[in-house]
Symmetry: D2
């Protein structure tokens, strides 16, 4: 591939390739609470067990802190995003609000307005068993449901949009820790891009997979040996350059192609600023999986 290693940013090679994104349904929910800390606890619980729809009910993450001046009830909050198929999204928005936010002290829930292509009815007010009442909070129609901790205020329609999943890039480091810190720096940067989340633990993927398995036919997915540094010598078609000790991937979901594109850009650049990063590449399926292409050359 004589022309493929033709880009650099801050001395790091960017492979001339692209991440392949595909459509996903996305919803955003704003969780407020009496303090930033309690809003964070609820948001964390509500977005757990949500790294990949392969094995989790949905993909989810905290999008951003929302200051009190921007929330309907003027209390501090966090916006979370949930992404998956349309049917599962309806269930997950309901379940995660019901189990992880309604149950959390002092919280309220508002529509984060990811879009209005689909409106998800939450219908939590029936939990009030007749004691619920309609209230207007910050100009928004909500239900107020008596609970043990007081009244739980909830806007019961959450807008959803056909967003983009599968934005990604891979960070190759001259040491495991170079790649790890670069991944953290990338996640720090992406956390400032509205409309995006990095759903994996701490925003980072350590174990890339390929579809199926060469050896174990019953496995639907298995390790992507071409990107495993410790078996570089054993894999003839390894994609690991000499000297690379670890690869971490950042996976991005977003409300739009533009949001994911921006996240890719700031994430790649942040990773490239960390000493010891030697190469950035991205994952795709040859264009067969999804209609969105995020070229690394657009990241610099």
């Amino acid at each position: 591939m004589p022309n493929s290693y033709n880009m650099e940013f801050n001395g790091v090679i960017l492979e001339d390739t692209y991440a392949e994104g595909f459509p996903v349904w996305a919803a955003r929910v704003i969780i407020t609470a009496v303090t930033k800390e309690w809003a964070y606890k609820a948001a964390t619980e509500a977005t757990g067990f949500a790294t990949s729809t392969i094995g989790c009910p949905c993909e989810a993450g905290i999008e951003r802190f929302v200051p009190a001046s921007e929330t309907p009830d003027n209390r501090p909050g966090y916006a979370i995003m949930l992404c998956c198929g349309k049917k599962a999204l309806k269930e997950q928005v309901l379940e995660r609000i019901a189990e992880c936010v309604l149950t959390a002290p002092t919280t309220a829930v508002f529509n984060g307005k990811a879009g209005s292509e689909e409106i998800i009815p939450v219908k939590l007010h029936f939990f009030g068993d007749g004691y619920e009442s309609k209230v207007v909070v910050g100009g928004i129609n909500c239900w107020s449901i008596p609970i043990m901790g007081g009244n739980f205020v909830v806007e019961e329609e959450v807008g959803a949009i056909k967003g983009v999943a599968g934005g990604n890039f891979l960070i190759m480091g001259d040491s495991q820790m170079s790649a790890l810190i670069a991944a953290e720096a990338a996640v720090d940067a992406i956390s400032c891009v509205p409309g995006t989340i990095t759903p994996f633990p701490g925003g980072v993927v350590s174990s890339g997979s390929k579809v199926g398995s060469l050896k174990y036919k019953f496995m639907g997915a298995s390790t992507n040996e071409k990107f495993c540094p410790t078996i570089r010598e054993k894999v003839p078609e390894t994609e690991i350059p000499e000297g690379v000790k670890a690869v971490y991937e950042i996976v991005i979901d977003g409300v739009s192609e533009a949001a994911v594109k921006e996240a890719m850009k700031v994430g790649v650049q942040a990773a490239c600023r960390v000493p010891g990063v030697v190469k950035i590449t991205a994952g795709n399926y040859g264009g067969n999986l999804g209609p969105f292409k995020f070229h690394l050359k657009d990241c610099i």
Copy 2:
């Protein structure tokens, strides 16, 4: 109930009642990582969306920090506990390790030895697609699976035990914030009791429920109006004493009756030390739900 208010601790009334616990299958998993921080991120992701088996796949929480001197690979770690039915537990242990820990940077997984009544096979080594190998770490047989970030070490059998769910007590405060901080103090104390978790957000339940609904027949559960302070005047059989502004519940799962009993004790006492707490009670179903009774009188 002339004789029911006959106990006090630190000036707080303890109702003469009990929490009713019931059997649950419990497993403990130790997650280590290169730093305490990365182990925590993985543990947090793995125990999210896990407040109550009513709507979540399982109940889960971080049991405790495990110092490097006590882990098989001598790295810092966190012990997490997962609790639910036996069949669901097998699935959840596998899924949460596979999706939330295998994917997390630098992690390893070890059996936390909750018990050996049931052994859950994780069988993650097939993910290695033939590149996996057996290794001994800290005297323990593990698999080492090549992944992008390096090698993922995993002990593939996790012991489970028939533990106890449903330990609980309710904290009534003269203000919402008295009850809230008391709940946090209780959770702080319980976090030091081995073999127990408080699975709700921040360890606290804000919205207690009753089975079914008086008004909406299609609802399987609805607000427990007798414990809702804001409708105290509307509910003839309210359990809310005059002056109580909020009630928060602590729910405890544990590996044994003894562990839950100890957690109840330290939690109740911690709550009673917070100014503004006026009464502690507990929830039961008249002994019909479960065989374990945790009397508040044993908490002082």
Copy 3:
């Protein structure tokens, strides 16, 4: 004072009084690092032991997170502010950068441009012992100093301005925890106001003082008994209304009168939104201490 209790916000009484501010020299320093987490650790160390110039070398706090897109070296950072007299400020800016930031891993230091009324020379480059060199980072002239961890980049002039100290308000709660959580909510809100800090622990003051002592002549300051709820019955001129169990004060330093005014406003309103807050007042010395008056009536 028949007309003094004539304001309310969200049902909370605001006393018709004002906070009295006075001039203070203020500097802002931007600390960047490889990750948000490491920038935070350095910023925390650099702003500790800095609650009040009565006993600390200066007053300091973290002003805000600065995203990578806004810092000169495109890495995540925190802006800290230091406030005290002009001479002490020069010393403190130097000492805190030298001892707490230069020593912290991966950090760089930039002028946060609080103002340019006074330019503080840091002159850390002499630490390089001749190995230092001039570099331009993000268009800014800096020094690059070889250290064990790599090269420490520092902009050596930090602008200072005559700002305002002593912005304050007092939160009175029907329980200690109502006042405490309200104080935390106020600090959360003020943390979003540019150009301000709340230098006390967690942003909150628990122990107000008066100048001198009635009983112990050798004491320069002692408890302000008129604002102590637990001795309300013993102090004839108590300022504690019946039913108030605790008072917490928020003290604000800012780069300008406008910044402190805005912080007062959002802080007071945030506190008033917390259930159980019954009254807000403010501290002044009858206008003898400082030229700035922040009236509570301007906060609503």
Copy 4:
């Protein structure tokens, strides 16, 4: 130096050298609060600006979390340690308690009993201006001082001991991030050793210094060029092996020689378990500075 590189741990070279410790006065203070979080905020404020006695008033750090079951008032707490000369220690214990703990919401202060070679009188009760009273908490004689937030309980004698400062080791990494994460892992491990602190930001020193300066005679200290990787080629007597990109130092203060020795051991071993660490060494002054020698050969 044919025999100096004769040790290895986990494949990392340990130089056959030692850290040189010297006597320091050390005090321990236990800070409790209504929740773990508020105790932590006070402890953090009280231990800031305290990395090195070269430019800070003292060296200080959080020693450990103290569970409610072990504190005199049965609330959660943190033990902090302060280290410096005897006279300065008396001042610093008083000032830091008075400015950073008395002012912090809901806190209490107890003697952490580092030793009893010297007893530091805090005498905060005079702040009560006659309203203070003696109380017994957990069997301990304390003063209760009325403040705005309630009553501040303080044990007014804090024991001090002649401890050991200057425990240290240097971590050399094949990348900056290998050394950084190894330093963090070392600090994680040392944080579990009773009686020790790592006073620098995040526990890590990025900028080692030598006494004086070769070029600038007015400088009391300057960069230790022999340990600066970026100028390795310019410094004939460099101590940086080929391929080393960064060096981070861990500095340890402890209540005793044994405590520092144990901290050195667990810290060195933890660092050596991080991939990419190539060498560990330690700093000494040829035995001229202090009477304590902590040999790296005793760390494995």
